[in-house]
């Protein structure tokens, strides 16, 4: 995880995104405990209230859940939830900016599709 105060994304969002990322790539699997607020706070030099705000976003989305007195855990099926959520924003987050850049570079639609066809996707 790496956080930056001047990346344009609020730090609490960066926390949520980074935990999501870790779940997506398998650092934290179903029912695994994530680091405590204090560990994240001290480890990454971030105010604990900010850390908690980020974690709570994922609790609200049922990606994480709280075990009283123990800590925060990854919900079963969290990875699928994250995939669903990210699928919804795939167009606006990736396709739209890519097309905008392609227009600036005067690429044809064909050219972009050819590039994508070179990638191995099942």
């Amino acid at each position: 995880m790496k956080f930056s105060a001047n990346s344009g994304v609020p730090i609490f969002m960066q926390i949520a995104n980074s935990i999501e990322e870790d779940i997506l790539i398998g650092v934290y699997g179903d029912e695994m405990q994530i680091p405590s607020t204090t560990e994240i706070s001290v480890g990454y030099k971030i105010n604990p209230a900010t850390v908690l705000k980020g974690i709570n976003i994922l609790v609200d989305q049922k990606i994480l859940y709280k075990k009283r007195g123990v800590g925060m855990f990854v919900s079963t099926g969290a990875r699928e939830l994250i995939k669903e959520k990210r699928s919804e924003s795939f167009y606006s987050d990736f396709v739209k900016p890519m097309v905008n850049e392609a227009k600036r570079l005067s690429f044809s639609k064909r050219y972009i599709i050819d590039m994508i066809n070179k990638e191995e996707i099942n």
Binding site: F3, A5, N6, G8, V9, P10, I11, F12, T37, T38, S41, V42, G43, Y44, K45, I46, N47, P48, A49, T50, K53
Partner: protein
Amino acid sequence: MKLEIKNVTKNFGTVRALNNVSMEFETSHIYALLGRNGAGKSTLMNIISQRIFQTSGEILLDGQIIKSDELLSNIYLMSETSFNGNRKVKDLFKIAKIFDEEFDVEYAFTLAKDFKLDTNQKIAKLSTGYSTIFKVIMGICSSCKFVMFDEPILGLDANHRNAFYKMLLSRFAEKQDEVCYIISTHLIDEVSSLIERAIIIKEGSVIVQGDVDELLKNSLSVKGLKADVERATEDCRILGTDTVGSETTSIVVGDVKPDDGVQVSSVDLQTLFIELTNEGGF
């Protein structure tokens, strides 16, 4: 516990250093007290710790006017004020315990070791950096609920600053709801992720105070051709505008009109601070 500064004014002769300032500090939060040189930050902290007295206004602790014995046990100011230079570091750790029964001597020695601060050294012989480290340790180990750090990273190298931030947050986590840290510094970028709330002082008055995320949520940077930027930011409060070549960037508060010609992004605390406290020119 809540510390309230109510309508405090301070005059030094004919100079008004603080003009009717009001603010609140609560335990379990970390604050930044920000302002340019001469804005009145140190004067304010000296008044809060009653090293000097206000011309008018009140300092309240949980709604009661603060008494001198409560002051000692609740408010600590780490500042330039020097300790007796002939004393050794280890002696001052022990002396601190006389004034503050719950001063954490053991932790002070642990931190000194972590920072490689020689406890047999006399205070007067410490380098600028180690003198700062010594004062920071005195603040961290005090049992006071409100601890103010006036330039706590002065002269510290990058490694020691990093260690200071981690030490502060780990102590804050240990003390849970019992402590409030107030950090006054010019290195805003470095502390902006550490703090939850900020107070900005300009020429003796509070111009902004509140939750940092809230402050930043409403502030935007708008970049593009001058005419496009002006059109998009018509309804906003414009804090500042910079032009490089034919590209104009405005820092604004409010609703930006959607416009294909401009790039809108969020701003960081330091950028917002600079715009709010600028006095024209550079």
